[in-house]
């Protein structure tokens, strides 16, 4: 571990922010065209974030301010471990890559908990309802997602992301989206839940609970939350690309796969309504969980993998 590793890590986090912000803007344009509108400029999301950082902000006590910084730090720390391709990765030592799947599971929670703490610190009841719904949604999608990922780990015999990536790129092996079709579908549905896309957008719900956890944020804190959101979307979509779509051999492949996954999620999001929170939990515990368990049984006990 030298200082260079940390610089590469911060570079990856910054790259993820710029990438996701640009792709988010392009996606707003795509959605605009879908609705027969002109749509905003592709760099609109950058303008939004820098505008928010340029505004004055109120504080609701030090928990409110500190929670935002902690969440942003936690998310940047998580993004530092994310491999972009097989070779571009920050923390590696003598052929050992420090990019275990469970690092992301643990470190993502720091960001989410920081945000929950900060939102509760604002004292607004909408924020508490939003945080409660966010944690409930998390509880709902984590179970099927983890079952599928543990199946993948069991089958490929390793939990390092680059290892899983290389396993899928080996001759004779398919992407896990194809090798485990049921698991791939469950993974994508859980990705929609993680991203907070439309059927599972319950914890944001601007028209219902006034944008949930973000209700009391304005100015600089909201700007930091937007940066946090962009980086966490980068982490979640990259996880899907690496686990199910065979990762990437070079950076262009990564960009194409990333764009395809995020755009598909966004398009599905824009033709759907919103579930209630109990519908979200019932949905995840019914079909995705059933499909995930079926996939696990098929892979582990029968060994039927395409």
């Amino acid at each position: 571990m030298t200082i260079v590793n940390f610089l590469i890590g911060i570079g990856i986090a910054l790259f993820g922010f710029v990438l996701q912000t640009s792709i988010g803007g392009i996606n707003r344009k795509i959605v605009g065209r879908m609705q027969k509108r002109h749509g905003p400029r592709w760099y609109q999301e950058f303008l939004d974030i820098f505008k928010l950082l340029s505004k004055r902000a109120v504080s609701h006590g030090w928990i409110f301010d500190f929670g935002v910084i902690m969440a942003l730090g936690g998310i940047v720390g998580t993004a530092m471990f994310m491999p972009l391709t097989k070779d571009i990765l920050a923390f590696t030592n003598n052929g050992v890559n420090y990019d275990n799947f469970f690092i992301f599971v643990y470190l993502l929670a720091v960001g989410m908990l920081g945000m929950a703490m900060s939102a509760s610190g604002s004292g607004n009841p909408w924020a508490s309802i939003g945080v409660m719904r966010a944690l409930t949604t998390m509880l709902a999608y984590e179970v099927p997602f983890l079952i599928v990922v543990l199946t993948i780990i069991n089958y490929s015999g390793q939990s390092s992301l680059t290892g899983i990536m290389e396993f899928q790129q080996m001759a004779g092996n398919n992407w896990f989206l194809i090798a485990m079709p049921l698991g791939g579908i469950v993974g994508f549905i859980c990705l929609m839940g993680m991203l907070g896309k439309k059927p599972f957008e319950t914890y944001i719900a601007p028209a219902e609970i006034a944008s949930g956890p973000m209700v009391e944020y304005g100015g600089k804190q909201l700007g930091m939350l937007f940066i946090l959101h962009e980086i966490s979307v980068f982490i979640e979509v990259s996880l899907f690309v690496h686990l199910f779509l065979g990762g990437a051999a070079n950076i262009f492949e990564f960009l194409i796969k990333y764009f395809a996954v995020y755009t598909l999620a966004n398009l599905i999001s824009n033709v759907n309504g919103r579930f209630k929170i109990d519908q979200v939990v019932t949905f995840f515990y019914k079909w995705p969980l059933l499909m995930a368990v079926t996939q696990a049984v098929i892979v582990i006990y029968f060994g039927w993998v395409i």
């Binding site: 609705q35 505004k55 902000a57 304005g218």
Partner: protein, 192 residues
Amino acid sequence: MLSTKFTPKTKLTKAEIDRKWWEVGDYFRRNSLWLLMYCTGCCAIELPPSMTSAYDMERLGMGPMATPRQADILLVSGYLSLKTLRRLIYTYEQMSEPKYVVALGSCPINGGIYHDSHAVINQLDQYVPVDVYVAGCMPNPESVLNGFVDLMEGIKNKTMNGWKRYHEHYEWYKENQKNSLGEVIVHDEFHQ
């Protein structure tokens, strides 16, 4: 001997540097205006067409927002009764600065068709500073969007400083508000 080839670099004062940064911020602020819609009157019906496919507000970087903390523009559409005026002032004071007020229709200008009602205020400008008026009863979506473009021009030319006026003439605004609404003694945990 000093070289005469280059003119010496003039050192900028702190005020000039601040002004330059403020202009950079103004570029971002005028290209990403978020609305908080305070829809009490009939003018609100003109907003859906100006937001959706027909006139598409989002191409200017504008969009609706859920809470006052997140918003830049307070859009007052239509008449304000004394009861709603109090909420409007609460809302305005919660917004983070710089903030702008756009008044839609003729009711906030001079009372419109409700000018002789006992429950409706006639001039919004007496209570909160208004940056842009869009006149008409009701203004059509073209005029609404034209009003927003005027606001953007004004931010560029530094003429939209209603929020500064509110700071400078705070006593005057407060007195007007109290004259219309009367003082209220709030009984809750923060005011005991």
